[in-house]
């Protein structure tokens, strides 16, 4: 019988290494399409640098030196038999991937200072838990860079400003950071719920497939409008000018309190790294974003 901790650990090490070195196919495809779509010389040079970089990184080096702070999204089936082994295995895997990939040590103590050196420490890696029905475990490694994280915002709007106010805060934010979060970006927007909920929803949107649309047409329309507006700014890749400032805008919502209209805005950079695997109750592993060569 396989050791469940070991399987979760080894799977996670691979997820972290793959996330740091190989972009999900759909992101790479979108960057290639953007390169082809640009006419501006400067924008073309930025995209061709990004595409060359992606190729070099795929040989096993981190595509970006900021390998992010370690975040996991975990969906655990209520009947998955090894729930107790998950947390420790993720932390151990983080330390191992940090040494082996290598990843940059990015876990700093905000109170007493100092870098833990291994990307773990108090509450880090951060795990977003979701209990679902079923008997398997889905792990998504989502290392998040600091530059794009610094462009995330929360607005507690007055409900009177309505959806126009919501769109405005997202567009104004994009104009204020001017591509500095390594544009082209993917923007997640969470509306309603409450301050923490809005930001949580916003960030979760970054996990959606790039080419999907929100199932509700009213929301899909907001996504399209914001995307079109931001791309009309001409900010372009790296804020150096061009047609592609965002690759995608993803919006979702929760019911809101009558007195408040929270809007969370989460920003992802072109290095939109994530890697997902599913572990069955029998400890068989299926890699979704980064399949093992020769395996489906």
């Amino acid at each position: 019988m396989k050791d469940p901790s070991q399987v979760i650990h080894d799977t996670t090490v691979r997820l972290l290494r793959k996330a740091a070195t190989v972009l999900p196919k759909e992101i790479e495809e979108a960057l290639k399409a953007a390169h082809a779509h640009e006419t501006d010389e400067t924008a073309k040079t930025q995209f061709s640098a990004i595409l060359t970089n992606i190729k070099l990184a795929a040989t096993g080096v981190p595509m970006c030196q900021d390998t992010g702070i370690m975040i996991f999204y975990v969906k655990v089936g209520d009947k998955f038999p090894f729930i107790g082994e998950i947390k420790d295995s993720l932390a151990k895997a983080t330390r191992k991937a940090t040494a082996d990939t290598p990843l940059r040590p990015n876990a700093v103590n905000p109170i007493i200072g100092g870098n833990s050196g291994d990307n773990t420490g108090k509450k880090i890696p951060w795990i977003n838990w979701e209990i679902v029905s079923g008997d398997s475990l889905e792990i998504t490694a989502f290392p998040k860079g600091g530059g794009s994280e610094n462009a995330c915002i929360l607005g507690m709007l007055k409900p009177g400003v309505g959806l126009t106010g919501v769109k405005k805060i997202v567009v104004d934010n994009a104009i204020s950071y001017m591509g500095k979060a390594c544009a082209p970006n993917i923007i997640g927007v969470g509306i309603g719920g409450g301050s923490d909920i809005a930001l949580k929803i916003a960030k979760q949107q970054l996990l959606r497939p790039l080419n999907d649309k929100h199932p509700e047409p009213e929301v899909a329309k907001i996504e399209a409008e914001i995307m079109e507006a931001i791309n009309a700014t001409g900010i372009g890749p790296m804020g150096l000018g061009g047609k592609t400032t965002v690759l995608g805008v993803k919006v979702d919502y929760a019911m809101r309190h009558p007195a408040s209209l929270p809007v969370g805005v989460a920003i992802q950079c072109w290095a939109a790294r994530k890697s997902t695997a599913i572990i069955s109750k029998d400890l068989d592993v299926t890699y979704l974003t980064h399949p093992v060569e020769g395996k489906k």
Partner: protein
């Protein structure tokens, strides 16, 4: 848009030839990494009349906190994309005046103080594509020294031999032009159209 291949140390004359929009590839031994703390230390040393451990004249100073590891006793930089340069706005003008570096590299551009100093000393600011850590590292042939390591891996002064390090896009030149300022103006001019798309009239 002209493409230049420059070898360090770079002369003032060569630096003054560069214009916003040009592409540069750098080769040579005067390539250093420096973020906030390394800038601060270099300036402190100048104040105290001490000589820094490297020659900054004609050099290329890169705003980056690299990922590096030691292989068989030798340091190797694995990934080294630029960090946000505006943090160094506090020091860069003085640094340029005192040490005559010729190319500053980073991302996001810098402010008026740096632009003024570039003009004064004859230097340029280049943008390297953000996040392209693997591509940057490919341009580093050798890490010759890991100095000021007490500052930690990202803040230390890494001494590098570069070979065709680039493409570096000149975004601020010694003629007072800044693509970053131009971009701010252009985006401001488009704002009404952008707002119209989300139903806001200004």
């Amino acid at each position: 848009m002209t493409e230049y291949h420059l070898t360090t140390p770079i002369s003032e004359e060569d630096a003054r030839k560069l214009k916003v929009g040009d592409i540069v590839y750098v080769t040579g031994e005067h390539v250093y990494t420096a973020r906030d703390e390394a800038h601060e230390r270099a300036l402190e040393m100048y104040e105290k009349g001490e000589k820094p451990p490297v020659d900054f004249e004609g050099s290329v100073v890169y705003h980056v906190g690299p990922v590096a590891w030691q292989k068989n006793g030798k340091w190797e930089i694995v990934s080294a994309g630029p960090t946000t340069s505006i943090r160094m706005e506090l020091f860069e003008d003085e640094f340029l005046r005192k040490y005559s570096a010729r190319i500053i590299i980073g991302k996001g551009g810098m402010g008026a103080k740096t632009l003024g100093a570039l003009k004064e000393v004859g230097a340029v600011y280049c943008s390297f594509t953000g996040g392209c850590g693997a591509l940057a590292a490919k341009g580093f042939k050798e890490v010759r020294a890991y100095l000021w390591d007490d500052l930690g891996m990202p803040e230390a002064l890494w001494v590098i031999t570069a070979e065709k390090f680039g493409p570096l896009l000149v975004t601020m030149d010694s003629h007072g032009k800044s693509l970053h300022d131009d971009m701010d103006r252009m985006v401001a001019a488009r704002k009404a159209d952008v707002y119209a798309r989300i139903g806001i009239k200004e």
